[in-house]
Each structure stands twice: as structure tokens, then as C-alpha cells.
Symmetry: C2
Subunit: 92 residues, 2 copies
């Protein structure tokens, strides 16, 4: 069984190509599925990463599923804040 959790890439503040490389590395290390997760403003970057991997590096890439949701995160002063999230499930 695939350890899907282990193949999850969280999109953060680094440049888009860092995450593209992270996805490619996961696939090259034998992962069949890689999940890209992002929240808030980094959602656009998650879509960019998927599209760049598909169009430039892994021609056989398939977007298995795209899920959107709302997560509650706690901010610095402990007031909860709702933020949109995306999960893009990729397979080779």
C-alpha cells in the first residue's frame, strides 16, 4: 500500500520550482501518488506546480482528484481564522 501521507508536499513560501522539484523527486523515488496541499494565497502556486510538472516534466502525469475545503487555523493572538485549502492528487 502506498504511504500517501509520506508523499504529501505542502506548498509554502519557497519558489514554485522548489515544489516542482519536490514532486518530481517523490515520483523518482518510487511514489505512485503525490499529494500537493496548499492553503490561502498559496493555492495558486499549488496549481502552478501541478501544471508545470505535467506540462514540462512528467508527460504521463494524471490529476486524479482535486479537493477544496475550509480549514480553521489559529492566528498569533489565538483567534481562529478560516482559510480555504486545496488538495491536488497526482499520479504517474
Amino acid at each position: 500500500m502506498d504511504n500517501v501521507e509520506g508523499n504529501t508536499i505542502f506548498i509554502g513560501k519557497k519558489g514554485t520550482m522548489s515544489y516542482v522539484l519536490a514532486v518530481i523527486t517523490q515520483f523518482n523515488q518510487g511514489a505512485n501518488i503525490v499529494v500537493i496541499k496548499a492553503r490561502g494565497k498559496t493555492i495558486s502556486k499549488a496549481v502552478d506546480v501541478s501544471e508545470i510538472v505535467k506540462n514540462k516534466f512528467v508527460n504521463t502525469l494524471k490529476i486524479e482528484n482535486i479537493l477544496i475545503s475550509t480549514e480553521e487555523i489559529s492566528t498569533e493572538n489565538n483567534t481562529p481564522m478560516k482559510v480555504s485549502a486545496i488538495e491536488i492528487v497526482l499520479s504517474k
Copy 2:
């Protein structure tokens, strides 16, 4: 047959709630399907709009499909630029 094109909301520079209102208006005017489209940095806003409509206004909302793609747009100096796009298909 539904005129899906007519029920498409393009996400731009306005505030999130403007687009939330636009989606709700489409449904209230009898649309069964509303498609939210966004490109580049506004992709996050498209997800926000879908989630706010679902969680706060239309409890029966179903996300029928989410598609991501790459579009080529021409910039001011006529050099083509690739940009990620999202299409979120909502039904009531």
C-alpha cells in the same frame, strides 16, 4: 439544456464577496449550474468564493468538478505568457 456559458463567473480584482453575491444571484435566477473561472493569482479567490457560498449561503451546494489547466495570454508587449487556470463547477 442549461446555458452553462451564461452562468460563468470570471474572478477578477473585485472583493471576494462581490463574486459570492454574483454566484448566489445566478442560482436565485434559476441556474442549476454556475461555473467559476479564474487565472493566476486569483485562483485562491475562486476557491474562497466556492467555499463561502457553500458554507454560508447555499447548504445544498455541490462541487461537481474542478479542472485546472494552463492558458496562454498575451501581455502588453505581445510576448505570450503561460498562466494557470481553474474552473470550479457548482450545482445547487
